[in-house]
Subunit: 424 residues, 4 copies
Amino acid sequence: MTIFEQRESAIRGYSRVYPVVFDKAQNSRQTDDQGKEYIDFFAGAGVLNFGHNNPLMKQAMIDYLQSDGVLHSLDMQTTAKAEFMQAFTDIILKPRNMPHKMQFMGPTGTNAVEAAMKLARRATGRTEILAFSRGFHGMTLGALAATANQYFRGAAGVPLTYVSHTAFGCEKPCVGCKQNCGLDSLEALRNRYLDPSSGLAAPAAILLETIQAEGGVNVAGKEWIKKVEALAKELGAVLIIDDIQVGCGRTGSYFSFDDLDIEPGIVCLAKGIGGAGTPMAMNLVHPDLDKLWSPGEHTGTFRGQNLSFVAGKVALSYFKNDELMSEVKQKTEQMKEALQPLLKSDSSLQLRGKGMVMGLDVGSGERASAIVQKCFKDGLIIAACGTGGRVLKLIPPLTIPQEDLVAGLNILINATRSVMEEAA
Amino acid sequence: MTIFEQRESAIRGYSRVYPVVFDKAQNSRQTDDQGKEYIDFFAGAGVLNFGHNNPLMKQAMIDYLQSDGVLHSLDMQTTAKAEFMQAFTDIILKPRNMPHKMQFMGPTGTNAVEAAMKLARRATGRTEILAFSRGFHGMTLGALAATANQYFRGAAGVPLTYVSHTAFGCEKPCVGCKQNCGLDSLEALRNRYLDPSSGLAAPAAILLETIQAEGGVNVAGKEWIKKVEALAKELGAVLIIDDIQVGCGRTGSYFSFDDLDIEPGIVCLAKGIGGAGTPMAMNLVHPDLDKLWSPGEHTGTFRGQNLSFVAGKVALSYFKNDELMSEVKQKTEQMKEALQPLLKSDSSLQLRGKGMVMGLDVGSGERASAIVQKCFKDGLIIAACGTGGRVLKLIPPLTIPQEDLVAGLNILINATRSVMEEAA
Amino acid sequence: MTIFEQRESAIRGYSRVYPVVFDKAQNSRQTDDQGKEYIDFFAGAGVLNFGHNNPLMKQAMIDYLQSDGVLHSLDMQTTAKAEFMQAFTDIILKPRNMPHKMQFMGPTGTNAVEAAMKLARRATGRTEILAFSRGFHGMTLGALAATANQYFRGAAGVPLTYVSHTAFGCEKPCVGCKQNCGLDSLEALRNRYLDPSSGLAAPAAILLETIQAEGGVNVAGKEWIKKVEALAKELGAVLIIDDIQVGCGRTGSYFSFDDLDIEPGIVCLAKGIGGAGTPMAMNLVHPDLDKLWSPGEHTGTFRGQNLSFVAGKVALSYFKNDELMSEVKQKTEQMKEALQPLLKSDSSLQLRGKGMVMGLDVGSGERASAIVQKCFKDGLIIAACGTGGRVLKLIPPLTIPQEDLVAGLNILINATRSVMEEAA
Amino acid sequence: MTIFEQRESAIRGYSRVYPVVFDKAQNSRQTDDQGKEYIDFFAGAGVLNFGHNNPLMKQAMIDYLQSDGVLHSLDMQTTAKAEFMQAFTDIILKPRNMPHKMQFMGPTGTNAVEAAMKLARRATGRTEILAFSRGFHGMTLGALAATANQYFRGAAGVPLTYVSHTAFGCEKPCVGCKQNCGLDSLEALRNRYLDPSSGLAAPAAILLETIQAEGGVNVAGKEWIKKVEALAKELGAVLIIDDIQVGCGRTGSYFSFDDLDIEPGIVCLAKGIGGAGTPMAMNLVHPDLDKLWSPGEHTGTFRGQNLSFVAGKVALSYFKNDELMSEVKQKTEQMKEALQPLLKSDSSLQLRGKGMVMGLDVGSGERASAIVQKCFKDGLIIAACGTGGRVLKLIPPLTIPQEDLVAGLNILINATRSVMEEAA
């Protein structure tokens, strides 16, 4: 028995899907302890936008360590933090005229969402938060109430309260979906909110991902999301965008909502913000909301991670010019094109996504699982998401080299064809 | 205006207490960007048990980075993780005959507590958890319900439910305390639990710190804690020890409860477990409980942090022999002795603690705050804790050199004398 | 100052709308202490289906009192109770092949709803209950969570949990309503319930009125209600019909759902069940559910009211033949006809209803209030209901004499014309 | 099978304990349909303080019915209501200088408690209510959260929240009780409330019975209850006295707290207030609280029951002079004396109580149940209460004739002796 079998909790998950021991990693490749290499279309669930062991980040972290830079500092001021914040302000916030403040908390996405929910409730004096079917926002009790998936919710052990869910407004409906996710549904909800006899009280916040990554790569329609913003404004609710998985350049722009013409009150960031894969989370909070915080009200030991500031600052440098984002756009097109023949050959398949987060909906979790296994055997790490795990999520590092992208797509296409044909 | 004043959230806390920008750190010293050095009696709120930039850890992390070790891996298997787990098993678990499994989750203490609460609720089919006045367990909604402090609770924005609090059983009562924290109180509570007409349902878990660090360095009495364990057993509740702040060697032994003759169902660890200050959290879960988890039910992006495994493995090496723990015992005595004259000179002062976590209760938050400020001016970082912030918490790195320990104590003693005399 | 002004709580309501002191009442007439008579189109909010001081009931109660019949007996067996139960079984249940058991509880509708919610939760092991916008189910905390009106909900003082609301499926939409209350909306909800990633867990029960009386006399469409029943069955949820206001003959048949071809698991009755206006409540519970109760689990002092059994038995005698129900059908037509000219003359008015519960929607609460006041001045008691109080509810005793019905309708028509003209 | 066996819900309770069909009742006697007479030491669980079919009340109700008095009127003004309110003001409130307003609600005790809880939460903006072990306050979800008994709580189907329970301060401890119910416990609780780090937030209300009747006839100590009142005042919480079972003269004075020198913000009344056993509930609300209600916020169909006003007014006439209350005091002494030999003969028995509500604690539910059965066979109706049903509750009509009181006591004493001897 390996040490994992002997001593790791039964809750372990990915190690069952990819039952090898990984040893090294570089950009879009992971190598196991037997020397076998895998192309990575998973990128740490969206953390490793800039590749494993990005050389610039690696060097910056080594330099920082060698210079005895402060590693752990709670929310004290450090030079590394100052530099990160300055870079974020100059490169991201100022060009967008975003007046938002940066709030650091425990270095997890769920913690960012919890902090956002607290502040929205304070700002409005309300308790309810409106979230969406298939949304994923974390595992701690407050965020878990907003996470839609029954498997995760079932672990709570107590009723999950103060969040209600409604249909998400997909740009195009998933195959077979009848959730009435369009504008009509939102308008009907609005009418119920405005009716004092509907049983619905106005929410403290509307919390959503612009693209539900875990939920199956469901992309919100632009008109729908504008209506959501208008509804939040009309009801006096805070608009919270959870950009944890699809922010930090994933969609071809820093924020996933850069082309959506919305102004969130709070933006939750984590995963990619730390650059190299060390933990960090940060909320961008509109000053009108931020001023409602008192010092230390939402505290945490690991808020403000200096290695993450150091590598995260390098990550921000990728947004000083258009180079990487242009590359993302080009790779996005390449991925779509490569998958076209497959999609044409089997009309039950559906491809969704925006930028370099794509979902290939194969219609059943069993098939998706078989494809994931076949891919892994063939040297590709890819994971399934969505209801019943029926969607293959393509989320490679943005920096993946051409040859790895092509090779990975080929493995995926072959595996999909083979599994789909067997199933037929 | 600095970038912090311009752009950091109003929620920032420690940067107000220590209003400088820290640049470097080595063992028990932090240096600001003006070159001023500070002795560190705070150690990142109990994270840095082995000192800032511990040379062994630093080197291990640099080596790991240079070798392109996997940095981010969710809960996949890595060589770094295997080595950490093997070391933890061999050095910590086996010598204690602890059959516990290791569960990794989001790298924060609050996340560890949330996971423990979920599992206890599942194991018992009950909702209520018994926690204690002055306990601190985190900021996310589930853990926050167990955190006693009204300041933190007030930020929730929704009622905090499914946790009730009773008096903590201090070894010796705090000055002026009348909470009836002794064995009588626990026996009365037991009788109410056993009475089907008491309105109290049996709890899913009893959750406690053996030493309430944030709560004012309140040390549980051994007899009391044995009775708590017996009560948990009698009621079929899980005993959860939150050893996040006082575990990992802080009290002179790896676990704070090594001398208490108790067998917790779940032990929550974080802070010091990652060695160098990079985030990590881990629950030790008895196999009878652990088997109730299904794969991935409590998930999280940053569970399993490889740099923390690397540095954490170095930290574990300090427990292969008695060297460091003997040093801790010696320093503990030294600290007590050094403070004796101060305590004798002012009977309103009280010293509490175990090993190298000590609380100097100065009776009021105003006085404590003045002492903290004076210390900082004189080159010592120390923080206040407890109700109203009236307790100075001495929690230096375990590796602090003699001369820094002596110098730090002198600064503290002088500042305390001066403030207490002014107040008198 | 009257004794009411001196000593009755500020919460008093109807005494502000009808600011006289009522002294006597007979069938559809109430007389105040100045001798002024009023025609009653309110009938105690649906209690007095058989008229004030129905002579048969009055005599039965006097006889019972004179014979020293048991008045108060909790849920002990009495002859009066046996006779009522036998009559209910023979006249109501057997002809419908309803195997339901009779459960008596505290003599209020809210208590009946609470008992039904408890049992549905037990039967399913679930917490959530699905209720509908504009529904009214009572004031105690469990039932209040199902009541949709924000005014009532706002008094709770704690969050109302474990009930969610969706659009009610009106037979025809209210003027200006955009709640998407049709079949599409229900189908979309069904799809979300069936989706394990929707955030919606299957409910313990679906709780509804077939006609929302307080909610504005909204009549459920037959196809919609069949779909609701089918959804309950599909999800394993209990179908609870709250027939408290519109049962007991009000719609021209004993139950409001007699023509809807549904089989509720639980039917909640109160108001009219006691015949003469003394309190009583009763749930009809399918034996498969009923057997889940243990003795005395939902107790109450005034369950089983003997005067209500006595008068209620008389009330049941009205259902031995078709006489009264035919009369109701005839009066229903008469009411509709009488109101036709008014409706034709003002297209903003809408008439809704079924049997002798009708709602005249005048579009605004101000207008409705003015009409209520004018009617009262002219000798007609009528009340407003619905969102913002914009619907006049016509709910006279079923036994109202022709001349009173005609006279009352004339007063109402004149008042409405006059107020609508003023408003125009 | 009887109609009860065929068609009454499995939840029926008392009909299992007293398996006969009662037909007639007069003062302290009930007669079954076979003509067997029973002496009544139960009095409808405290409803029938003035005896079954009290001749004055009976006549008043018959007269009222014959005169076509208004029977049902929601909260409109009626002459019967005016007369009741005037009598209550003159006889009860004015002599005590109580400025309280009368609030009528659904005619059940649980509804009164719900209304009180709502108002206390509004008045303080807080959610938590402090109640006591072994307290009984009703079955609807809000009140049920305050009811301590696990059997009733277990039927809720959802977690019961926003109420916490602490030990009740018995005048003298129950046999074998170790709940620490004295003043020390209350002082410790007070200290926790005052400590901002205790996890306890100040409550909206402290809700208690001065004598826990259902809970086992536990009589609060006077000093303890004064401290409870002081604590409520100190914390800004509303003191709510639930006098539903032990008010209306039961203890030898109108309110159970007349000799306790306390000033409740709200007093909940029901049961005996309606005189003859028809339902009614009423809260007495201090004007400073009452003014916070808006019209109709806590509504209900059967608030304001005219037959209950009519009989209730007769009941109030018993408090115009000392006659009945002197009789109660004399009978109280007589009961105690009669039971002395029994108590002396068996030191495991304990008698508790105040006025004509007494509890004979026989130490086990099995024994109590056997005694109840034997008594019933011998012609005495008496019920068990308290934890595990181990306390026989003596609560005869206050108007019980000497010979019935003596005869009933003899039956009880003999049954107890016989059962206790068998058990020994």
